[in-house]
Symmetry: C2
C-alpha cells in the first residue's frame, strides 16, 4: 500500500463512523474552534516560517497577504467553525417518501458522500474551512494544500485532529497530505478505491489540471468569466453602479465581471457614464472598435483573447452588441458558466435572458458579486460549481451529500 492508499483506507473507516455520528460532530467542531484559539501562537509561529519562505521565493505582496495569519484572522477562522457548527445537519433528511402499490415503503434519505479530497493552493484558511464543512456533513476529508502554506496547514491540521480525538472520535476524518509535490496530487486523482469526489479550489490552471487528469469524480469550481449586459431599456446609473461594483469591489474573485456588453442603441450615452465610474479605480478598458470610436484612444483595442480572458484585475473588456440576441450569443460562446447579469427595465428581455443564459447564476439588475454561499443564505460554501452535474453554483453542506433509497417490505418479490 502506498502512503496515500493508507490514508484513503483510514479515511474510509473514519467516514463510516462519521456517517452515523449525529450530534457528536458538533461536539468535535466546538473542540476544533476552541483548540484553534488556544493554539493561536503555535499557528502564527508555523505561519511565520511559510511567510519567510515565501519572501525568499519572491512571492508577490498580495500572495503573501493571502498566506499570512494574524491573531485576528485566526479568530475569524475559529468563528467560521462555530458558524458551521450552528448550521442544520443535512444528514438523515428525508427527501421523498411514498408507498408503492405493492406495499413497499420507499424513502430517499440524505447521506454523506463518504471521503472527499480537496486540492487547493496558498490560503491556509481553506484547510480549516474545508475540513469543518466536510466534518459537519459527515464526510472524511483528505486535504492537499499548496507548498507555500505547508507549515501553517500542518499546524492547523494537527490541531484539528487532536481536537477531534479529544472528544473520542477518530482523528482520521481529517488528514493532510504533507508531500506537496506534483506526484502526490496525481496520486490523489487516481485514488478511486477510496475517494468519492475530488474538489479543486484555486486558479484556472489547477482546476483544469484536476478536471483533465482525475479518475475520481470531480466537482469543478470557480473559474468565472462573468458578464454584464446593458440592455436598451436599462437605468444607466444602475448599470454603472452594478458594473463598478462587479468589477472593482474585489477584482481577484471568480464572481467579478470580465466583460460588459452594451446595446448599440444606448452605447453612446451609456459608455461615458460607465467609464466615468470605472475611471475612479483606473480600470483599463479593452474595447471593440465601436467602443473605441465612442470612448476614444485611451481604450485598448480588444482581440479575441479579451473575450476569453479571466483578468482577475482592474481590466474590463467592452463590446457593443446589436441586441439582446447578440449579447446572449456572445455569453453562450465565451462564458465559463458562472454568473451573468442583465440590466434592463424590460420584463420580456429579463425573461429571455434568464431563460436562455445557461450559467450557474443569472441576474436581473444586481451585481454578480452576490454569487456566494453566504450571500445566497446557504450558511457557508465549499466552492462554486461551474459544472452541471451534482451541484451548480455556490455549494453548501447539502452539496456535500449523496442520497440512498431505503425500501421496507414484508416479503415482496418481483
Amino acid at each position: 500500500m502506498t502512503m496515500l492508499e493508507e490514508m484513503g483506507l483510514k479515511a474510509k473507516i473514519s467516514a463510516k463512523e462519521l456517517s452515523i455520528a449525529g450530534k457528536k460532530k458538533d461536539i468535535a467542531l466546538k473542540a476544533i474552534a476552541d483548540a484553534i484559539i488556544e493554539n493561536s501562537n503555535k499557528i502564527i509561529e508555523a505561519n511565520a516560517v511559510d511567510i519567510e519562505n515565501g519572501k525568499k521565493r519572491g512571492l508577490t505582496a498580495s500572495l503573501l497577504d493571502r498566506l499570512s495569519l494574524s491573531t485576528e484572522r485566526i479568530k475569524g477562522i475559529a468563528n467560521g467553525v462555530l458558524e458551521v457548527m450552528a448550521l442544520q445537519d443535512p444528514i438523515g433528511e428525508v427527501l421523498t417518501g411514498y408507498k408503492r402499490p405493492n406495499g413497499l415503503d420507499i424513502t430517499k434519505v440524505r447521506v454523506p458522500l463518504g471521503v472527499i479530497g480537496i486540492i487547493y493552493e496558498a490560503r491556509p484558511n481553506v484547510t480549516v474551512d474545508a475540513a469543518v464543512l466536510c466534518l459537519k456533513s459527515g464526510n472524511a476529508v483528505i486535504l492537499r494544500g499548496g507548498k507555500e502554506a505547508i507549515n501553517s496547514n500542518k499546524a492547523l491540521a494537527n490541531i484539528m485532529r487532536d481536537a477531534v480525538e479529544s472528544v473520542g472520535m477518530s482523528k482520521d476524518c481529517i488528514q493532510l497530505i504533507e508531500d506537496t509535490t506534483r506526484q502526490s496530487s496525481m496520486e490523489l486523482m487516481n485514488l478511486t478505491d477510496y475517494l468519492d469526489v475530488l474538489i479543486p479550489r484555486g486558479g484556472a490552471g489547477l482546476i483544469k489540471a484536476v478536471v483533465e487528469n482525475s479518475k475520481v469524480p470531480v466537482i469543478e469550481t470557480g473559474v468565472g468569466n462573468c458578464h454584464v449586459y446593458v440592455d436598451e431599456t436599462a437605468d444607466l446609473n444602475m448599470a454603472a453602479d452594478i458594473i463598478y461594483n462587479a468589477k472593482t469591489s474585489r477584482p481577484s474573485v471568480c464572481n467579478a465581471i470580465e466583460t460588459i456588453l452594451i446595446n448599440a442603441n444606448i452605447a453612446e450615452k451609456a459608455l461615458p457614464i460607465i467609464k466615468a465610474r470605472l475611471d475612479e479605480k483606473n480600470v483599463e478598458l479593452h474595447g471593440c472598435e465601436q467602443t473605441k470610436k465612442i470612448l476614444g484612444d485611451n481604450v485598448i483595442l480588444a482581440t479575441e483573447e479579451d473575450w476569453k480572458k479571466e483578468y482577475l484585475d482592474y481590466k474590463l473588456a467592452v463590446k457593443v452588441v446589436k441586441d439582446i440576441d447578440e449579447a446572449i450569443e456572445h455569453i453562450s460562446k465565451y462564458s465559463s458558466g458562472h454568473s451573468e447579469c442583465i440590466v434592463t427595465e424590460s420584463l420580456s428581455n429579463a425573461a429571455k435572458f434568464t431563460d436562455e443564459i445557461d450559467s450557474a447564476a443569472v441576474y436581473v439588475n444586481a451585481s454578480t458579486r452576490f454569487t456566494d454561499g453566504g450571500e445566497f443564505g446557504l450558511g457557508a460554501e465549499i466552492g462554486i460549481s461551474t459544472q452541471k452535474i451534482h451541484a451548480r453554483g455556490p455549494m453548501g453542506l447539502k452539496e456535500l451529500t449523496s442520497t440512498k433509497f431505503i425500501i421496507k417490505g414484508n416479503g415482496q418479490i418481483r
Copy 2:
C-alpha cells in the same frame, strides 16, 4: 474540426433550442412513436443485417436474442416512447425560492444538463430509450452504440431524426456516431467542450473503461454485486423466497444478487431451506467452509474471487457470518454499492442495516430486484447510478437535469 467536434457543436446548438422547447418536445415524441411503428419493416430489415453479421461472428444465442427486433418488440419500443411522453416535464420546476434580507429574489430552477453522451453495447432498444429520455428532459444526445447493432441503430436514429425534423425542430438533438471503433469512443470521452455528461450503459468492462478514461464527467451505472443477509430473527421461508427471486428471476441483470450471508445461529436450519428453493433452478453454490459443512459436497468451496464476482448467472456465493456486524463488514468490503437486503424480524437490526449499509438501495424484507426506475415509480430510467455524486440508484428524468439560480434585484450591489 473533427467529425465528433462537429457533432458536438451541432448538439450544443440544438440543446439550446431544446432547453426552451416546452410542449414541442411532446409533439416530437409523438412523431417519433408514430414513425417507429410506420417504419417497422425498415427497422426489421436493418436488424436482419445485424443478426446475420452476428451469426457470422459467432455471437451467443442470448446475445443474438438481445440484439433481435421483432414487430412485437418494436411496438414495445414505440409504447415506451409514449410512456415517456406522458411523464411530467421536469424542466422549469422551482426547487427553492426565497427573498434575501437585501431584497434579492432567489430561485433555483431545474434546467437540462445540455448535451449527454451515451455509450452502450448490443441492445438497439437503448438507442430509442436513451434518446427519448434525453429529449423529454430537454437534452441533446450523442449516441455511441456497439458495432453489433450498428445497422439497427442507424435505422432507428434516422427515423427519430426525421420525425423530430418533421415537427419543425432541429434533428441534431439526436445524433448517432456511426464509427464503432475504439477510436470514436475515446474521442467522445475527450469531448469536454461539448458534452456535459457521459453515461455508459453496459457490462462492467465498458463502465470501467469509461470511468477511467473519460475527461467528461461520468455517471457510473449498473455494476451490481448485490447481497442478501439473513438475520438470526428472519422468517426463513420469506428469506428463501426473496433469495430465490433475487437470484433466479433474471440472473443477468444488475439488481440480481450474487452473495448471501447467513447468520451462524440459524445457518443449519436456514441453509437447507434456501438450497431447496435454489435447486429448482439448479443454482450452483460457492460456499464458505461452514456452508460446505452444512450443505455437503455439492457446494463448491468459495475463494476470495467469489465474494468479488458479479456472476450474472445461476451461481451464488454463500457465507456464514457470526452476526450482523460481520455481514455489514463483508458487504462494505465487497459490494459495488448497488442493492443489499436484510431479512429480519428485528426492528433494531433493520435500523442498523439501513443506517450502516452504504449502497444506492438498502432493503428490509424485499427482493433487490425492485431496484428499477419503473418499480420505484420514476416512470422510466436511463440507468442505475452506483456512484455517489449527482444521482444514486435508478435515474429518471430528474436525474438528467441540472439547476440554475435566478436572482432578481433592483440595483443591489455588494
